[in-house]
Symmetry: C2
Subunit: 194 residues, 2 copies
DNA sequence: TTCGGCATGTAAGTGGTTACATGATTTC
DNA sequence: GAAATCATGTAACCACTTACATGCCGAA
């Protein structure tokens, strides 16, 4: 699916491999993570298929680069790939595997882990909020007439809502952990009565 | 991370490879998807490491099976693996790659895709709600004293909240698509004035 | 002079998917 | 008689990660 992600970016503007990698880290990571070392080989494959074309751009003061542009065939293929309704929705959330076993850890450590995850998600939410503002100031606001770019705003909103929900869950989970831990300590350390 | 997922299940009860695969499809899929063909080799690896041990159980009327049980070393390793705070949170949401490009599709098709995704997430939410009820009737309710299994309820709640948020997003997205599509048709088909 | 940024890559390894193979039993 | 369920697996392939290699520039 990396190809779909790359074409989605190249459909808006030209990129070098390096710039693509930056663009992934800056925004697309929140939907589809990709590492540098994946991107270069994928660009070669896309060019071999004629979906993008690269031009060598000499630069002075810094290394030359190869700028890629999407072709007409590339745009057609992008639409084809996007136009598939997936029959399943598979997630893999590493942190939830920890959560399942969180009761095997000491309460203090359990708290630490959830707090850490909360920070990650909170930060993600802030970055996405920034992107949403940028998009809005660039004219991508709800209610726009139908156009090619309209999907970006929707995707950012999905990220905002799911990360907000996740942060909310973290807070709820912390409360749960605290009450459960309290029950245990009450059992083990009953209050002293003079 | 599949090992973590498998050990998490085996920590609660014994399973054959086949049963594990079923258990994944029935519940863990919503956190960590795994296919049959992955599970068998992984079980061999875990047994070779001494984290689980298998016993051949002869059966009549159906093929013999090999039941796996977690070892003490396995429980220790499970806790070690669970006790890692991840520094990043990488998602890969295929549908959002479609969403980015949804403005390139005809409005009717765009609607169809979001509606399809909504159905998937709605179903996921219902299955998770069923699991939550099961857990609660089995005594896994919020406020329980600290225990090994307490994480399951938390994980199910995370699934409930994120899928609910996703369904909410789908509804919002459908509204957005409708208003954008309406703007377009108003442009192309201005109202007739006698 | 050392580090970070720009720019492009390779190699080795891990993780995961899809499809297939086998074979008995039960259900439609 | 065909299909689904139980049960275990293999093989080929694709996707992704981590680590490394190269080389030049500018800033601290």
């Amino acid at each position: 699916m990396l190809r779909l992600a790359i074409l989605s970016l190249l459909a808006n503007s030209d990129y070098s491999g390096y710039d693509l990698s930056k663009a992934f880290d800056a925004s697309l990571t929140y939907v589809w993570a990709a590492s540098q070392s994946q991107i270069y080989p994928e660009l070669h494959k896309l060019e071999a298929k004629g979906l993008i074309e690269g031009v060598d751009v000499p630069q002075d003061g810094r290394p030359d680069k190869r700028l890629y542009r999407i072709t007409d065939a590339g745009r057609d293929t992008l639409v084809e790939w996007a136009d598939e309704l997936p029959g399943t929705y598979a997630i893999r959330d590493r942190f939830q595997l920890t959560t399942i076993n969180i009761g095997r850890l000491p309460p203090a450590r359990a708290r630490e882990l959830v707090t850490g995850q909360r920070a990650l998600l909170q930060q993600r939410h802030e970055v996405l909020a920034g992107i949403a503002e940028l998009l809005e100031s660039a004219g991508h606001r709800p209610g726009e007439p139908w156009n090619d770019q309209l999907g970006w705003r929707l995707t950012v909103e999905a990220g905002l809502r799911t990360s907000a929900a996740y942060v909310g869950w973290c807070d709820w989970a912390l409360e749960q952990l605290d009450t459960s831990a309290a029950h245990r300590s009450r059992k083990h350390l009953p209050p002293i009565r003079p």
